[in-house]
C-alpha cells in the first residue's frame, strides 16, 4: 500500500510517502505561486527517490492522497482534504504518543492545538493574521541584523543578556532591532531578544487553549533551537521537537490517508 500526504504551506510544500505504514520518502519544495503544481512536483520528487530504491510508482498509482495546509483546496488530485489542525495533531501524536499540546510555527502562521488523552483535538487557536510569532518575523529581523536565518538558533545560545524587544508588531520590532544595532548591542543578545519576543506571543496563544503536558513544537521554525529554548523558558516546560519538524503536517496527512485505505477514516 502506497499513500501520500501533502502539506501546501504558504512558503513550502511538504510531501510524505508511506509504504505499508512506514515513511518511505519525504520532500520539501518552495511553493511558488502555483500550489497545485508545487504539490504535484513534491510528490513526484518523493516518488523519484523511491524509484531509486527499486519501488516504482506514479502519482496516479498511489492508493490514497490527503492534502492539507493553506493551499489544500487547490490540490485537485487529492482524494481528501483535511485541516492543518487535524494533520498536525495526527502527525505530532505519531512522533510523540504522549503529546497533549502541539505548537506549530510555520512561515506565515502559528497554531496551538490541545489534544485529549486519546489524541482528539479538544481546543485550538491559530494566528495567520500578523507576522509576530511566525517564521516571517524571524526572516525579517534576520535580514535587518544581517545574519542568515538558519544561524539564528546557534548564535542566540551565546547571548549573555537578551535585548528587550517590547513590540509584537514586526514593523515596530524592526526599528527596535535597528536601534540596538546602533547602540552596538551584541548580535547574539539582539537575536535572543527576538526569540523571546516570539515565544511571548506563542505563550499567549498556548494559554488561550490551555497547556497540557507533553508539549511538542513542529513547523519549520522548530528547527531554530533558540526559539525552542526561549519557549521552554517561558512556558516552564520541556518541549519535544521531532527530527524533521517541518513535515509533521504532511506526515499526519499521510497517516490519515493510510487509515482511509485500511477502511476506517
Amino acid at each position: 500500500m502506497l499513500v501520500a500526504g501533502v502539506d501546501v504551506g504558504s512558503l513550502t510544500v511538504k510531501a510524505v510517502i508511506l509504504k505499508d505504514g512506514e515513511v518511505a520518502a519525504t520532500t520539501t519544495l518552495i511553493t511558488g505561486d502555483d500550489a497545485a503544481t508545487a504539490a504535484r512536483t513534491a510528490i513526484n520528487e518523493a516518488l523519484k527517490s523511491l524509484a531509486e530504491r527499486g519501488v516504482s510508482a506514479t502519482l496516479d498509482s498511489l492508493d490514497y492522497v490527503v492534502a492539507t495546509g493553506v493551499g489544500r483546496k487547490e490540490v485537485a488530485f487529492a482524494h481528501e482534504v483535511k485541516t492543518d489542525v487535524r494533520c498536525d495533531a495526527v502527525g505530532a501524536r505519531h512522533l510523540f504518543p504522549s503529546v497533549r499540546t502541539v505548537v506549530d510555527i510555520g512561515a506565515e502562521s502559528c497554531k496551538v492545538i490541545r489534544l485529549s488523552k486519546k489524541g482528539r483535538v479538544e481546543d485550538f487557536t491559530a494566528n495567520d493574521k500578523c507576522a509576530s510569532g511566525t517564521g516571517m518575523f524571524l526572516d525579517t529581523l534576520a535580514k535587518v541584523i544581517g545574519v542568515g536565518v538558519e544561524k539564528l538558533g546557534e548564535l542566540s545560545l551565546k547571548a549573555k543578556e537578551p535585548a528587550k524587544i517590547s513590540s509584537m508588531c514586526v514593523v515596530f520590532a524592526e526599528s527596535e532591532v535597528i536601534s540596538y544595532i546602533h547602540k552596538k548591542t551584541p548580535v547574539e543578545d539582539i537575536i535572543a531578544g527576538v526569540h523571546e519576543s516570539i515565544s511571548n506571543r506563542i505563550f499567549g496563544m498556548m494559554n488561550r487553549v490551555g497547556i497540557e503536558k507533553d508539549v511538542a513544537l513542529v513547523g519549520g521554525v522548530a528547527r531554530n533551537v533558540g526559539v525552542v529554548r526561549a519557549l521552554e523558558a517561558r512556558a516552564g516546560e520541556n518541549i519535544l521537537v521531532p527530527e524533521a519538524p517541518q513535515i509533521a503536517g504532511a506526515l499526519g496527512a499521510a497517516l490519515i490517508a493510510a487509515k482511509a485505505c485500511e477502511g476506517g477514516a
Binding site: V121, E122, D123, F124, D128, G204
Partner: protein, 87 residues
C-alpha cells in the same frame, strides 16, 4: 472540540469560539449573522458544525464588535450555548 476563530493583535483579542460538542448544526446563527461570515461545514471528524468562513477569520475584529448592540446575533440565538466571543 473548542475552535477559536480569530486572532489577537495590539488592540486586543478577537476570537469567536465554537464548542463543536454543543453545536448541532441547526444553522440559526448562520442565518442571523448580518454579515454572512458564518457557514456550516463538516469538521474533521465528520460532524456538521458552524465555522467562520476562511476569508473572514482575519477581519472579525472589525466586523463582529458592531453586533454588541444587536439583540439578535449569533451567540444570542444559539439554543445550545455553543458560541462565545472575546470582545
Amino acid at each position: 472540540m473548542i475552535a477559536h476563530y480569530g486572532y489577537a493583535d495590539g488592540s486586543g483579542e478577537y476570537y469567536l469560539i465554537v464548542d463543536t460538542d454543543r453545536c448541532d448544526g441547526c444553522g440559526r446563527c448562520v442565518e442571523v449573522c448580518p454579515n454572512d461570515i458564518l457557514e456550516l461545514a463538516p469538521d474533521d471528524y465528520g460532524k456538521t458544525v458552524v465555522r467562520v468562513k476562511d476569508e473572514f477569520v482575519n477581519s472579525i475584529g472589525y466586523i463582529c464588535p458592531a453586533c454588541k448592540r444587536r439583540d439578535e446575533r449569533c451567540e444570542s440565538v444559539c439554543e445550545h450555548a455553543a458560541l462565545s466571543y472575546t470582545w
